[in-house]
Structure formats: C-alpha cells, structure tokens
Symmetry: C2
Subunit: 689 residues, 2 copies
C-alpha cells in the first residue's frame, strides 16, 4: 500500500460519529479518485506552498474589481515562479506533461478560479494552439509562453455580434505582398473581438482568429495569427489598436476580459499559424486541406482541450460545494423529538437534496479521469502525424463526447452549487461560506467555450449519423465503442421494465440497459421528428430547429449521462476491494437519480406502465440515500481539498461550526464599530423613545 501520510489527517471533533460509520478509509478513496499518487502529491504540494505564501491569503472583505485583477495577476506570476511544472516533466511525453499541467490547473482552480482561468487560457491553451496550429517558426513563442513564462497571451475569437457562429466573423487579415504583412482590420464595434481573457489589462500577445484574405480578394476563412498587442516592457497598447476591459462581471472578477478593435494593423507574414495552410510571400494561398470549413474545424478542435479543462475544474467545484453542504448538514441540528435536536443529514429530504450531487461528484471525477486519458492518447496520435486506424472517426466521437459532456457536467455542477447554498440556509448566504463564489465563478462555464445549448447540438449531429447508419445496417463509426450498441437497436427497443423489487434496479446492468433503451428511443423520436419536418418542405436548418425541444436536447443530455455511467463503472471495477461497496452505491445512486429525470420518456415510450417503474426507482433512490448516510462525511473528506483551499466557514473539516462562524464574523474588520458615515445615517429628528 502506498504511503499516504502526505495527506494531512483530519482533527477529531463533532463529526467523528459520522466518520466512524464509514466502511472505508477516506485517504484510500481520495487516492483512488485522483487516480495517480504523483499527481495527488503535486496537488498537495501546490496547496501547501500557496497556503504558506501570504500573497494567497484569503481576503475577509470584497475587493474592488481592479484590486481583484491586480491580486490575480500577482498570484499568476508567483505560480509561474514556483515552477510546479518541472523541466523534467516538461521534457517527458505529451500525456504525462499535459496531465501535470491539468493537475496544476485543477489545484489552482480550487483556490482561485480567476488565476487558473488566466493561466489556462494565457499559457496552456495558447501554447497548445501554437504547437498544433503553428510550425517551427513559432517555437520561440511557444517556449516563451509555457517554458519561460515571459509571455502572457490571450485568444481572440468571439466578436460582439457573433459568439457561436464563428463562420460569420468579420475581423479580416488581408495579405499585403508589398510589405509581406497581414493587415488586420475591424470594420466596426460589432466586429470587435470581445470577452478575450487577459486582454483587458495584462496580455502582450493575442492568438487571433480572423478571415484570411489574399490579394486576389478571396476569403479563405478563419485562420489563427499571433498578434503582438502590448509592449512587454511597459504594457502600453500598440498604435493602431483600441483595447479595453469588458468591465464588471457576475463572477471570476480577477480575469481581465477585454475587447480589441484593429485599425489596419500590420503584423509580419510569419505570424500566420501555418501548419494547415500558408500564404506565400507573393500572396498565394496554399493549403493541405481542400475545404476551408475543414480548416476552421481543425483550428478550433485544438481549443477543445479547454473544454476538457472546464470539466476537470467542474469536478473540483462540485467537490468543494458538496463538501461544505455535507459537513454543514452533519453538524447543524434543527428540530427533533423530546428536545433532542437532530442533524440535518438525518432528514430524508435533506439527504435526497444533497446525496445525488455527492454521487455525481464522484461519478464525474471517475469519468473525467478515465476520459482524459483516452482523450490525451487520441490527441497525441493526432498531433504526431502517425497513421492510426480510424483516427478521424475517433476524433469525431471524442468531439461528440466533449460536446455533450461539457454541458451536462457544467449544468449539474451549477445546480449542485445552488442546492448546496440552499441546504446551508441563511448561513450559506454569507460570503465566507463560499458557496456564492463557487457558484458565480462556475457560472460562465455553461456559456464559454461553446454555449451549452449550441455545443450539445453538435453531439446530436454525430449521434443521428450513427443512428442512421445503424438503421440502414451500415457500420457505426464509434471506435471508442460508446455507441456500438446501436447495432442491437431493434432488440434494445423491445426492452420493457420487469423489475419486481428495488434490488433489481440497484445494478449496473439495469442502469446501463435502461440508458441504452432511452438513447435508442430518443434517437428514433428525434430522427422521426426531423424527417417529418423535412417532409413538410422545411430546410435542414429549419427542421433541426423544430427537433430540439424534448428530442435533440434530451438525447444529448442522456448520452452524456450514459458516458459518465459507462466510464465510471469500468473504472470502479478496477478499484481496490475495500472501496468498491461505497463506490458502487454512489454509482447506483447517480444512475437512478439521473434516470429519475427521464421517467417521462420511459413512460411515454412504453418502457414502463403504471405505478411500478416510478415507485421502485424512487424507492431505490431513497434506500440508497439511507444506506449512504453513514458514508457521506468520509466521502466528502475524500473529495475535499484542504481547509485552506476550501475556504469555507461552514465546511471546515473539524466540524466546529459555531466556533468557526464566531471566529469568522468577529475577525471581519467591519463587524464592530459605528459606521464612518453615521452622521448621514441618523434621522434628522431623532426620537429618544
């Protein structure tokens, strides 16, 4: 057994009772959820290093947005200096290096999401894109960004009037053979690049996506350019650019999101990222792809690492949220009998409100851990230029998986944060409970890197293609095997609910089989609706619009849940024996709690009739809540970061709820004392009553 003494012990206290009832060792579960002891050690090293650095001390009061930006930038610089990514890891293979980078990102994200987002965009994603879109001539930028940390960059894609529809973007990069430069231009404010993280105040370079136009006037579609925007020595904006900060936001206040307008701004020809296409000195466009939209696809695909990163961060956000709520539920007593008040966690309604999200936190973590490994292997192969069987099909499948999983995960985590806040009642409304910040910092993930509603439609496109192939008896393009079961489409569709007791439902078999039935049924519904609308004479575009609600949208959600289920159950089977009972219970709870949301479709499609299905499924969910009650405090111990990182007055591991609350409230500098503006506050005719 590995030595886990690097994980700090939890102090004895009021939560002991709920810890002693756990069937497993929480440190073993923690390691198991992380999947790699070196990465777990790296996380703790980062957390402990930052805890000892006063620059990372938590503020008791809300800072101005400008101050938040300043602190975030300083923290980013300091993290760069700590060199958590060692030169040795940097020189190791792609997967190992990337996992280390991802782990650093996750660890920082739990502490201050603004820092991790600035870092993820400005260092990891940009360098990743330079590597895969650029060529040897961009290597100096790559090294300056990720290895030497001399450059903080940004990625400029979205425009004021065009977010999701990248094809219609209007920023142009016109090649001028006379000077061998690209001339970048923004026609008007609506075409200003916007929401660009790091651009508002700090970055010196921007990876810009603009329409490439050759001297003959041909538009070759969006291409990537590396554009210097500020003098690195003074941070002054270069002439020809208008750069501004987007202003106050709902969350992630430390990120300086900016906008930029180009006024015939010139950059060297070499700053075109020319891996997939180039413009000769004379202005001739040369591409290794024939179709401009495929070039765009290839360019944007490289940014999907961002979506994987979002899912990892989401796993950390939900872990923090449920930790706070479960620890609070185990220490807060309210109502009872014979003057003995009982903790909130004893209430079935409270269990039901929270435990599904705890289960989701565990299942998501297992899913994303496995999925990331698969993903990195595919990218590695794709980047290496190796000939690999089915590579493009695998890329398609991965893209579909990411496109539906990022929405499903980020939405679930947003709901979880909200439910956890509500479950902590009024005290949960304190800023120092941290649930508000977890929520508002997580909030943009449902929009950025592909709006959830728009992004998930892409998974639907892929699923429908596979369905059509299956129905026609053709081969299904699913090298990862996530949808190969469609070949048994006809058999699966005949399945009906036959369980007679809850134990039949609490099985991986029942859960996966029911999901397979659901996917088949939803594919049929979606496909039929689409065909029906086409038959009415609608265009493909219009027919798709009319097939989203209750069909396409539900289908992609169900597929995402199915992926989490299949990947996590495979992962659990490989875990150590001691952990399997609790992991399977959490898995069953997640599976049945998720299926509960699709009961209508199960009834509508005739999978179940009458009382039995809903009753047994819901009884099983409540049974699992009861069975897991004694495990949950230790489960969240395994999910939680350190107390310093968690930074919640309600979620401290010692469980001394009211002492912690008193300390927090009493140490706030504004708690006591008369307001400085008391003269303005008094009534003009004060009544001594």
């Amino acid at each position: 057994m590995e030595d886990l003494s690097f994980i700090p012990d939890i102090p004895s206290g009021p939560l002991d009772e709920y810890r002693n009832s756990a069937s497993f060792n929480w440190k073993r579960l923690k390691l198991s959820l992380e999947g790699d002891i070196d990465l777990l050690k790296l996380k703790y090293k980062i957390w402990q290093t930052l805890e000892n650095d006063p620059l990372f001390a938590h503020s008791h009061v809300m800072l101005t947005t400008d101050e938040e930006k300043r602190i975030t930038q300083l923290q980013l610089k300091r993290i760069n200096q700590y060199k958590f990514l060692t030169n040795e890891t940097f020189r190791s293979n792609y997967s190992k290096k990337t996992r280390a980078l991802m782990t650093i990102n996750e660890a920082v994200n739990s502490l201050n999401p603004s820092v991790s987002v600035k870092m993820a965009i400005g260092i990891y994603l940009v360098s990743n894109a330079l590597l895969s879109l650029g060529t040897v001539r961009h290597l100096k930028f790559y090294e300056a960004t990720i290895l030497n940390r001399e450059i903080l960059a940004s990625i400029a894609l979205t425009e004021i009037a065009h977010g999701s529809d990248a094809k219609l973007m209007r920023t142009t990069a016109t090649y001028d053979p006379a000077t061998k430069q690209f001339v970048i231009h923004t026609p008007d404010f609506e075409a200003a690049k916007c929401w660009v993280g790091n651009l508002g105040k700090t970055c010196t370079h921007s990876l810009l996506f603009a329409q490439l136009i050759t001297p003959d006037g041909t538009n070759h579609g969006l291409h990537g350019f590396l554009v210097p925007v500020r003098d690195p020595a003074t941070l002054e904006v270069y002439p020809g650019l208008i750069i501004g900060d987007m202003g106050e936001k709902i969350g992630v206040h430390g990120i300086d999101n900016g906008f930029i307008m180009f006024n015939h701004y010139r950059i060297p020809r070499e700053n075109l990222l020319n891996r997939t296409a180039d413009v000769t000195e004379d202005g001739v466009y040369e591409s290794s792809f024939s179709d401009p939209s495929r070039i765009l696809g290839a360019a944007l695909e490289n940014l999907s690492a961002g979506r994987v990163g979002i899912m990892q961060e989401s796993c950390h956000s939900i872990a923090s949220a449920v930790t706070i709520a479960v620890r609070y539920a185990a220490s807060r007593r309210q109502f009872g009998e014979r003057n003995r008040e009982i903790p909130l966690i004893e209430y079935e309604l409270h269990q039901w409100r929270l435990f599904g999200y705890v289960a989701a936190a565990v299942v998501f973590r297992l899913y994303i851990e496995s999925f990331t490994n698969v993903y990195l292997k595919i990218v590695e192969k794709s980047n290496s230029g190796q000939r690999v069987d089915n590579l493009s099909e695998a890329v398609g499948e991965i893209h579909a998986m990411v496109s539906c999983s990022k929405p499903a995960l980020t939405w679930t985590v947003l709901e979880a944060a909200q439910q956890c806040r509500e479950a902590c009642g009024g005290h949960g409304f304190l800023k120092c409970a941290r649930l508000g910040d977890i929520r508002s910092n997580h909030e943009p993930t449902v929009t950025y890197e592909g709006d959830n509603n728009v992004l998930s439609q892409q998974a639907g496109n892929w699923l429908l293609r596979q369905y059509e192939a299956a129905v026609m008896g053709n081969e299904i393009d699913s090298p990862l095997g996530t949808i190969t079961f469609l070949k048994d489409y006809a058999t699966i569709s005949k399945d009906v609910f036959t369980c007679k007791e809850t134990s039949h439902l609490k099985t991986a078999q029942f859960i996966t089989d029911t999901y397979k039935w659901l996917i088949c049924w939803l594919l049929k519904q979606t496909h039929e609706k689409y065909e029906k609308e086409m038959a009415k004479g609608l265009s493909k575009f219009q027919a798709k619009i009319k097939s989203q609600v209750y069909r396409w949208k539900t289908l992609t959600r169900v597929y995402a849940e199915y992926l989490a289920i299949v990947f996590s159950v495979q992962s659990i089977a490989k875990k150590e024996k001691e952990l399997q009972p609790v992991l399977y219970k959490l898995f069953y709870l997640y599976g049945l709690w998720s299926l509960d949301k699709h009961l209508v479709e199960l009834y509508q499609g005739g999978y179940g009739v009458g009382d039995g299905l809903a009753k047994l499924l819901r009884d099983a969910v409540l049974e699992l809540c009861g069975e897991l009650k004694g495990e949950m405090v230790s489960v969240v111990d395994a999910l939680a970061p350190t107390d310093f990182v968690l930074n919640s007055v309600l979620g401290k591991s010692d469980g001394n709820l009211y002492q912690n609350l008193q300390t927090a409230i009493f140490s706030n500098p504004d708690t006591f004392g008369r307001a400085t503006w008391w003269r303005d506050a008094i009534s003009r005719t004060p009544a001594k009553l």
Copy 2:
C-alpha cells in the same frame, strides 16, 4: 378608457417588427396587470422622481460593501423625505393604505432591492407588528416609525443555532418586579440573534422575540419586545449589548444584517408588546390565550405580511428578468440560412426556454394581485376584532396558501433569472446586463421568512387535515374555497386522460381538472405513506420525515401552482376583451408548462398511459410558444419598469443592442488605459517577440 399618457411611449427601433405583431395595446395590458390606475400612477411617480435624483443614479463599478450600505441608507432616508405615502392615504382604510405601502415597496424594489428590504423590515413590518402585537402604549413607536420616519427598527428572531425552529430559541427576557424591568440575556454566541436586517449599522430599535420568564421561573414562550439598541442621536450602541454586522454576503449588499448579544440588558416592562398577554407589575403573567404555542403562532402570523411582500417583489424580479431576455432575444441574431441571420427568438428551443417564464411572470402577477386583496380583507377583519364566521379557518387557509406559494414563486423566479442569464449568453454575464444582480438579490428569498423547504411543510399539514376530513365525509375547512373540490375526491380520482388533440388541452377546464386529479392523487400517496410509516411504529415526527420526498414536497408545490392557476383564470375572465386572447394563451402556456413537470405523477397514478399524454401536452406547449412569439415583446413591455429602473444594457426598450453595449462599455471609467499596477504585472524578463 382611462388616459394612459402618463406611461412613457417606447421609441421606435429594431424591435418594431415584433411590437407591430402584437394583438393588443401594451399600455392596456400594463394597467390590467397592475389592477389599479392610481397605484400604477404612484409607481411611475416614484420611478420618475428617483430617476431625476442623482442620489439614485446607477454606479458603473462595483462599490465596496460599506459604500453600498451607506448609499442604501441615504436612499432610504431620501425616500422617507419624498413622502410617497401621503397623509391622506395614511389616514384611509387599512386595505388602501397597505396597498399603497406595498406599491411603494414594489417600485423601490425594482430599482434597489436593498433599499426596499430595509424599508419593508424596518418600517412596514415593524410598524405592522407594533399595531397588531402592541397596545395603545406602543402607539408612539408606531407613529415614530411609519408616520414620522424618526425610527428605523429591525426584527430579531433567528438565532445563530436556530433558524426554523423558533420554539427552541434561547434568548430570555426575565421579569424583575423590583425594578419593573425585563432583563434580556443571551447565554452564548449560539443564541445570538442574527441576520437581523438594519441591525448591523443603522437601526435604533429592535423588535425582539425572546422567551418570557416570570419571577416564578416559568417560561411562557416567545414574546415580542421593543428594545432600544442605539442612541438615535449618535448611533452608538448602548452598554450591555454586543452588536455586529454579519459581514459580506452573496447579494443585497446594501442591507446591514447584524447580530446582537444581550448581557443582562434591561428594558422597561412597558416594552413588552402586550396585546395577547401581559405581565403585571408584580410579575404575574396574564394571557388572553391558554396555550403558549398559540401565542407564538399569533405573534408570528403577523409577520406573514413579509411573505406576501416577498411574493410581490418576486413578481417584479421575474418581470425584469424576462424583459431583458426577451428584448435581447428579439434583437440578437445568430445563425441562419443564405447569410441571413435570424433573431434568437425565432428558435423554438429559445422560445421554450424563456416563454414559460414570461407566462409565469404574468400569471404570478395576476394571482398575487387578487390574492393580496383577499389577504388584506382577512387581516383587516382579524385586526378589527369583528366576529366573523370562519375567521380562524380562513386564517388557516391563508397561512397554507402563503406557506406553499412563497416557496413556489421564489423558486420559479430564481430559475427564471438563471435561465434568462444563460439565454443572454456571454453578454448576460456582464454586470451591466443586471441579470446577475437580479439573481443574487432575489436569492435570499428562498431562505428568509421561512426556508422554502420547511415553510411548505406547513401547507402540507393543512392539506392533509382537509384530506382526512374529506375521506371521512366530514366538512372541509376551506372558507376561501381553494380545496372544497376534495368533497368530490372519489369522482376526481377516477378521471383519466382522454384528449385526442392539442386544442383539448389548451383549455382552463383541462388544466384545472388535471391539477385537481394531481392534488387528490398526491394527497392519497402522502397520506398512505405517512400512515404506513406510523404503522411501522414510527413517531409522527419520524413518519413525516419519511413522507416528504416525492410526496409532501410535490403535493405542496402542485397546490401552489393550482392556486396561481385558479386565481389568475378568474382574474382573466374579468379583463377587457381585447386583452383576453393573449392572457388566455399565456395562462394555457403556464398551466401546461407547469403540468409538464408533473407528467411522471400523471403516468404513475394511471391518469395517462403511453405516448398520448406526454406527446399532446408537449406539442401544445410548443404550439403555444409559436403562437405567442409575435406577442412576447409587447408582453414584456407591459411587464417592464422604465429603462432607468430596469437598468440593463441588454434590455433597453429601444432595442439598439450593440450601440447600448458600446456606450456602456466605453463609459466605464476602468475600460481604457493601462492598469495603475502595470509594473507589478509585467514579466521580469519581458520578451520582445
């Protein structure tokens, strides 16, 4: 026809197309939703007055919390000075006066919720409680609070360790006959009164609920006391008190929520609010009630005006949120065919995401407008001491209605604010879009004045009593008639779904009948489950705990939706003919969209079988979305406050989305220019690349 020229016209612009398609005049609808032209005029008077007062100008940047508190207090004082409540209205009858106060509260809430909450608690609720709990000796406080605005007070009930369970509160008020004083004491921090609005920095008096103990040592339960806490001339805290501010919160930053600990703090005997019970000078307790828990009930009931106020404010919050999202949806274009981009509102998925909430905004408004009138009549009768038939039964029914409606409304509005933010994409994440603030300021309503999950259980208690009476053939105590249909319990329960086309579902009959079936079925399920748990030997307390999920909780939610449906449809029937078509469509949409969430129960209970029910219901929802598309911009015009009050860059009535965005972003003082901390931001080895 009334002259509505006091409502400013809307400028012509990009939204004209969607306005011209409306079947009605939006000003007529606005008046109809308000219900009273004088109250509507009062609202506009307030909005226009405050718009012209620089103290109410919106800030472009986030203020510090201390500054938010200062501005809020100044705004409150200024509103007091404006005397929107005229002496004439103050002297008129209870209902008229209260409706005017409520209207002022709503109008201010739309602009700055912190001000309206401070005012609602510190002036309206306190004076209301003084009137109903106190006697003639408290009249001077009453007048100083509401008439002369010399006192700003607070209400201290919740303790650090006891929120929902008021009975176990530990702050004591022990009578000392020697000095004829009550000695108020807080045993420890866990018993500190907390979350008390206005207490942190500003109030001079607090309406305290404490356990009244007589010299013989008897605890007579919670009673109300008026306690001076700060010197009105200096705002210094009196000796014997520890008062502090709760610190930073998630929202409503302008409210100074505070806590207080009493150290044998003495107040005159006369400060006991003695309408229902008194202590003689010698220390003998004299009550007009025999049961201490009934005294508590009577005392707390007086605070339920707060819940009605929350529902009214919620109606305004959802109105603002959907206005912003619908106007954005009509002006923002994304994707399309043949290079013609179409507005988001043309997408069925977008309609479906938003229109249910627009319908809810209208239905809630109609419901709460009618309900408030009923409520005020009952309170008026109750306060007057008139003998009225069934008064106590009516009070019980009203309490049940409020207890389930406050949760249902506040949760729906919270979801609406979130959905509206997401529907505005990245730009919705801007603070100046205001959706974030609407959401975080609304957020505490699901917790305060009775945590939604706990509060709604009280409605369940009442419903189950009526159900038991109905089943036993006894009389149902429902003087307002909301649940008298239970007498036909047996017939209703046999009802099944027989509709063959969507037009059958788009009727008030179908919607109300289906809700009646649902309520009957859920009552049966809840009752059976409860009895089954009791039969197992569980206590009543334990049996209730085991009957919440999927039963009690769903039941109270369904009852709340049913109330909104019944009250609003009665209201629509009385509206002018021109408005009825659009109002009925909105009503059908709300009804069917709400029933969609209970399809599982309809299937589980055998009301529907197979494809038909879900398919027809969902088809009807989508049809209604399509039918309402051309009405929606005008519907939100009728719901919206003025542009100044709405204060959203995305929701301005002129529809000039991108110009408004540019103005907002460009006028933010921090948009342009290098950060003052640029020296800290640069890399130590800046790379000129």
